[in-house]
Symmetry: C2
Subunit: 195 residues, 2 copies
């Protein structure tokens, strides 16, 4: 038996004039909820990687309990999300911006670009999910489109217009607030439809 | 340009009567070194996941420095190693035992078995790497063989003999001390040969 994580949180949503809205929910929360649903429905298995921590000192106040008393954040060497869909390795980073005209490339670290490059070359389905929170719009940009742009650009940002043109719009529903798998399924020509 | 991690450590090995030996090197160290080489040679991209930590308190002794002063270890919900080879998602756990006759199942947590089950069903190449350190022998056991055994057994262990029969021996070399990809390549009938 698979021990699925229960959906513990109450999910709040406000609907304004027919537009599905997730105001107040971060992209990370939406992805957690989405990945939970994907796991339960056996659509995909995707997890967020833990933040890497350098542990310096640990106390043992009682026999079974280890208390970390000194530690530091380390820079991650990979993207945040990894998993499997339909045998394929999935690998992506997710970023949110309040900027209305560009996605600032400062939000993407060089090691994340290097990692996306490496997994893309190895045949993983590698991509970036960008949410423009002011528009409540979420896009998936595949590494094959993203990496040449980043390599060629002299700008420190990706224009919103470019993302709208080369990215794929990610739909939201109450149950699956960041439903990125149908985008992948369509591009990989499986014709799979979810919800 | 991909920023490959340099091989910083000096790797020590003693060779006794023609047998490749990695005495003193843990399976984890061997896998780190192996995965580094796989990354450099573009054979596969595999990383060990960071240990999940519950952070309770953070101090900021200076403007740029965050010092974690209270944190606890959390139970991981996945296996330790994930990556991509030849488009396939790779997902595995690695364990070492000094036991000479069995691999104790207590070393495998239920959540790891659940996770292996989920990714195996989703088509990932899921497996367990077990090293019998007293014999200096390392085996790869695919989830398709491992999971039915665990489900059916009433024992709290997997016999060494069963592993020798159903597992695949993993070769070691100076450069690649836990060379598991050729086992996978052979089973997945690509006929790829490394080293």
């Amino acid at each position: 038996m698979i021990n699925y994580p229960g959906s513990k949180k109450v999910y709040q949503r406000t609907t304004t004039s027919g537009v599905t809205s997730r105001r107040g929910m971060s992209l990370e929360e939406d992805l957690n909820r989405t990945n939970e649903q994907y796991l339960i429905r056996e659509i995909a298995v995707v997890h967020k990687k833990p933040t890497p921590i350098q542990i310096v000192n640990v106390d043992y106040p009682s026999r079974n309990k280890a208390k970390i008393t000194e530690a530091y954040f380390r820079q991650a060497s990979t993207t945040d999300y990894q998993g499997v869909w339909n045998s394929y390795a999935l690998d992506f980073e997710a970023k949110e911006t309040r900027n209305k005209t560009v996605f600032p490339l400062a939000a993407l670290h060089q090691h994340q670009i290097d990692h996306l490059t490496a997994v893309h070359r190895q045949g993983a389905i590698a991509f970036l999910i960008i949410r423009f929170s002011e528009y409540d719009e979420t896009y998936l940009i595949f590494a094959k489109d993203l990496l040449p742009f980043i390599k060629d650009t002299t700008q420190r940002s990706i224009p919103y217009k470019w993302i709208k043109q080369h990215g794929h719009s990610v739909a939201a529903s109450y149950q699956i607030p960041c439903n990125y798998i149908p985008v992948i399924a369509e591009v990989y020509q499986k014709g799979v439809s979810y919800e």
